[in-house]
């Protein structure tokens, strides 16, 4: 397994802003093929940045017929660039050594990871709703190159519908592409945002696994800065190697320490 690498999903296109933190690896959302981010990059920009940085491209949309649009541009990317992909159809298009499979919230056990490895899919993003014990067991029973969302406002849902635009149109409201949603009973807050190709919901609190950095530092750790304000962002980047980071920002790591119930009878 590779040694730890921090990978940044930026919330601005100006990557020079991150230089002072000595970060060299970035995951860039690809214009037209990604959803739910603050900024997107076209192929020219990505290739240019790949001359300076280690660049990964994230393609997190389900692609439908546009998978063939991706196929047409794939060979135009600098061949150092790797791809983090949600749509499993891309396994047939992207070279295996450049592909990192990212089935959001799906890949949750060691046997699945090991099975993918028999298919030469050795780079995977695992679910970050797992407990630390589950993660440790996965780490101990797999040899794949695992990526893990270490700090992020987790993406909880992805719809093909325009859930904000439709709401605004229904009530004849002024155009906005995002809302902060508050649930009246639990008071949990969600961030919904709309793009031309669909909508995503992110959790309002920042997931942060720093408390368990020593257990997780064998993984490639993704820091997704999307929707994170400047104050928290600087705190995160200044304390990227600090186990106490989760105490320095308004974070939530409930699932790292609590099994989630899934049958009503299990909920006491």
């Amino acid at each position: 397994m590779q040694k730890k690498e921090f990978l940044i999903i930026p919330n601005t296109k100006d990557l020079d802003l991150y230089k002072k933190y000595n970060l060299n690896s970035f995951i860039l959302p690809l214009q037209g093929f990604s959803i739910g981010y603050n900024c997107y990059f076209d192929i020219g920009e990505i290739n240019e940045l790949s001359k300076q940085y280690n660049i990964y491209v994230i393609v997190n949309k389900f692609l439908h017929m546009t998978i063939y649009d991706f196929k047409r541009i794939y060979n135009k990317f600098n061949n150092k660039i790797k791809f983090i992909v949600e749509d499993i159809g891309l396994v047939n298009i992207i070279d295996k050594d450049r592909l990192i499979l990212y089935e959001n919230h799906i890949l949750s056990n060691y046997k699945a990871i090991n099975y993918l490895s028999t298919l030469d899919i050795n780079n995977v993003v695992i679910n970050n709703d797992l407990t630390i014990d589950e993660l440790k067991e996965i780490i101990s029973k797999t040899s794949s190159n695992i990526y893990y969302y270490y700090v992020s406002k987790n993406m909880l849902m992805y719809s093909r519908r325009n859930l904000v635009k439709n709401f605004n149109k229904y009530y004849e409201l002024e155009d906005t592409n995002n809302y902060l949603l508050s649930e009246s009973v639990t008071h949990k807050e969600l961030e919904i945002s709309d793009e031309e190709v669909g909508s995503v919901v992110r959790y309002h609190k920042i997931f942060c696994a720093s408390k368990y950095l020593n257990d997780l530092n064998i993984l490639n750790l993704i820091i997704d800065l999307t929707n994170i304000n400047d104050t928290s962002m600087h705190m995160i980047l200044e304390n990227i190697d600090n186990e106490k980071l989760c105490d320095l920002i308004d974070s939530d790591y409930y699932f790292l320490e609590n099994d989630i119930k899934y049958k009503v009878g299990d909920i006491k």
Partner: protein, 392 residues
């Protein structure tokens, strides 16, 4: 097996029998473990055995969902469960997690498997991938359009299964964990609390809601059959017996009429009314003709309406007296015109002329659920046939 498969859900053995009796070619069910409807009654292994026996005796199939997302702890017992289902003789596993595919292959299980809609398959390359793993069929993402499906059917021989009726997730299936974060229940292990049907404050003068209306493909079944889609799936393992009977009967009738060349616009109009009444939400064709706009969702919270169309079940019929003994479900009265339908009874109407209770008293109305009553029915009906209000 028919070329075009009507696939119904069943949350328990009674529902399975109703689904089969009312026209399903196949039924999908979940065991106590590893399926995605933890709130449904679900089936024990002995009940699955009985279900398979009942189905196979009638030339029908049973698919078992093993489609939850497995955490490490869930892997214990998976092998034995898959082997038990294989031994029972189920017709297929419906799977999502790669750990299940791995186990099926490692154990050299002969029972075939196909891929759950939880994988949100939206393109031909994804179908090819799962075909390469041994899947003979894939359930498409509900977000696929007619153009997507047409392209698949023209370019691959893997069987295609599509949802034609029932509730829709707002999200691409499998990619939503709002339930986990808002209510601490794991959506991908059967605990979904349907947070997309909650309302939220969004700092406007309106509650924010974004739940989907239901899916109803009755207008497009003929077109879908022309495309060559093999399997037509109804959602709803937690739905009522009446719902299952009604939906199965509606689609069975439409598909059979299409096959034998007798399908008319009036048939579609009638069954559209039937399906609209049995659904507790509004329903549309959703993504078939493209991404739905404003009309595809609700904007003011839960919109379910209760349904009292189900009036009773036939217990027995006396041909000499033209009289039936029935078990009441919802109110009806002397003078009402009602419909009867069943597995061997085409939809027929009649007028209620009398209602007699078990004390031999004449009643103006039947108002007590599950009361046993005698009523006139001027044509032969069968035990288990269903009485409902007249659909106009």
């Amino acid at each position: 097996m028919r070329k075009y498969e009507l696939l119904l859900p069943a949350g328990d053995l009674n529902r399975l029998k109703i689904a089969i009796d009312y026209g399903a070619d196949s039924v999908y069910i979940g065991g106590y473990d590893y399926s995605l409807r933890a709130n449904a009654n679900n089936f024990s292994l002995s009940e699955i055995e009985e279900a398979v026996k009942y189905a196979h005796e009638r030339g029908k199939k049973v698919y078992v969902t093993v489609n939850m997302i497995f955490h490490n702890v869930d892997l214990d017992g998976l092998d034995n469960y898959l082997l038990s289902l294989d031994k029972i003789g189920i017709d297929s596993y419906i799977v999502c997690d790669f750990a299940v595919i791995e186990a099926i292959k490692r154990l050299k299980i002969k029972t075939p498997f196909f891929i759950s809609t939880q994988k949100s398959i939206t393109n031909l390359e994804a179908i090819k991938f799962y075909k390469s793993l041994g899947a003979y069929k894939v359930v498409l993402a509900r977000e696929c359009t007619r153009d997507d499906i047409k392209f698949f059917k023209e370019n691959i021989d893997t069987e295609i299964e599509v949802f034609i009726h029932g509730a829709m997730c707002t999200s691409y299936s499998g990619r939503c964990v709002m339930s986990n974060y808002v209510t601490l229940r794991d959506s991908n292990r059967g605990g979904c609390s349907q947070v997309c049907r909650f309302t939220f404050d969004n700092n406007t003068n309106h509650d924010y809601a974004f739940s989907s209306k239901d899916l109803n493909m009755i207008d497009y079944i003929s077109d879908m059959m022309d495309l060559g889609i093999e399997s037509y799936k109804v959602e709803g393992r937690m739905k009522s017996l009446y719902y299952i009977a009604t939906v199965a009967n509606a689609y069975r009738t439409i598909m059979d009429k299409k096959i034998n060349g007798t399908l008319k616009p009036d048939d579609i109009d009638y069954y559209k009314k039937v399906l609209n009444r049995v659904s507790n939400r509004e329903n549309i064709a959703q993504f078939y003709n493209g991404v739905p706009s404003v009309e595809g969702q609700y904007y003011s919270g839960r919109q379910e309406v209760s349904n009292q169309d189900f009036l009773g079940v036939i217990v027995s019929y006396d041909k000499n007296k033209n009289e039936a003994i029935i078990e009441q479900r919802n109110k009806f009265s002397v003078g009402d015109t009602i419909e009867v339908f069943g597995p061997k009874t085409n939809v027929q109407k009649f007028k209620i002329e009398y209602i007699i209770n078990e004390d031999n008293e004449q009643m103006d109305s039947a108002i007590h659920p599950q009361e046993i009553l005698k009523i006139n029915i001027p044509f032969e009906v069968q035990k288990g046939d269903i009485m409902r209000i007249q659909i106009t």
